[in-house]
Symmetry: C2
Subunit: 224 residues, 2 copies
DNA sequence: ACAAAAGTGTTCGTCTTACACCCATGC
DNA sequence: GCATGGGTGTAAGACGAACACTTTTGT
């Protein structure tokens, strides 16, 4: 078999979180050409010797560039085209996009290497000048994340171990950017067995009625 | 920037169709190592000089190997790992999976180049010995296709230009592998404006009551 | 007349939504 | 007592499944 030139393969990470009660995406200001000064998703080149698969590559990039230890990254899509990235052979770039929703405060901006400026941008505000096709990738990640939460499928690692239903509802509302009905929210959670109350445990001291403590029940896996 | 070795990048195609009233996947028996004699999805290596983007690559592969002219291929996922394909550097293979649902008869097996044996396999029967991780890819494509049709979102190119509701229901039932209720099927189609009747046009001659002729209405695009 | 497919109406149960209402607590 | 958030009940509506029923043709 002849040897064909291969594209520059990268992994990009759309890290979402709730910052100041709003859903935000973590972006990076580029220090180098191309698109110097523009903003983009943090990412990195696939390293065959270091990464045993795509997910491992995404984890490595998150660790190296964002100092985040293995968030629950999920693959969203792959994009590849000529003209995407002049650094590849034939100007051909292929990127696999991963995304995750992490709790507030689990990433401190100004961490990471080779990153002049890490900054959170609200999903509903206008984005800054974006490099490559990253504006589209961000909106895909935001849409997928909101759709998950709207269906009460919380990305693993986003919800704390123990929480009250009020806290969970506030988190969901901040991600979705709209208010939810309390009764419906609670009914769906208990009807579908998404959540489980810890008997006896309560949260007091809020100047109000104490709230029951809940945990997430693992969603139905595939028994094979 | 240093030059990093890149994986062998391929495009795989899960072509689905209805054959003998059952949903089937088109598979290929491999003529070469690795996995010689096993079955797999038709696919090909990404060619930077020929393909302007991933979708174009998938179309080229479909044309060259299956003699199918630009079916409506949709990207499903990307898989990449060490150990997937020994032909790549460091035994690293990256495949982007595309899938499509095409009308019966639009692919003649025994076409294509370098393909000893092209054969349709029913989605609900056991698959033959599969190469690489293609068994998993096939089931992902089947699931995505059925989910589309169950939501009455017919992959473009699958439904003929003009059809009767009876024909459309029969097609849907064959894809899903189960019967549908006639009244509900029709109500959903008209309520959601998925389908439009051609006034005056009828299909007669079936020894039964004539049927109205319908066309698909384009689903809501994104006005931007 | 009959078989068979086209086409429609009706009922029923489920799920969602909106809203009202009670409960418990710290101040 | 009262404001506030926790927690629950209920009525109204939307939606889909199941089924019965009528209509229209060719034979």
């Amino acid at each position: 078999m002849p040897i064909y030139p291969m594209p520059l393969c990268r992994v990009e990470i759309a890290l979402l979180s709730v910052v100041a009660e709003r859903l935000c995406t973590l972006l990076v200001q580029r220090e180098e050409e191309p698109y110097k000064g523009f903003w983009g998703l943090p990412g990195g080149v696939l390293r065959l010797e270091l990464d045993k698969d795509l997910n491992a590559a995404a984890c490595r990039v998150a660790r190296e560039r964002l100092r985040v230890e293995s968030p629950a990254l999920r693959q969203l899509t792959a994009v590849g085209a000529q003209g995407r990235d002049p650094r590849g052979k034939h100007d051909w770039g292929l990127s696999v996009l991963f995304y995750a929703l992490v709790p507030e405060g689990s990433v401190l901006p100004t961490s990471g290497k080779r990153v002049s400026d890490l900054k959170w941008f609200a999903a509903d505000d206008e984005l800054p000048k974006m490099a490559f096709d990253h504006a589209d990738l961000v909106s895909q990640a935001v849409e997928a994340t909101r759709s998950s939460v709207a269906n009460l499928q919380f990305p693993p690692g986003f919800v704390p171990e123990r929480f009250t239903l009020g806290e969970l509802q506030a988190l969901s509302e901040q991600v979705l950017g709209c208010r939810l009905d309390k009764a419906s929210f609670r009914r769906k959670l208990s009807d579908r067995g998404i959540v489980e109350s810890l008997p006896g445990e309560q949260l007091r001291g809020n100047a109000h009625r104490p709230a029951a403590i809940y945990t997430l029940r693992a969603p139905e896996g595939k028994p094979s």
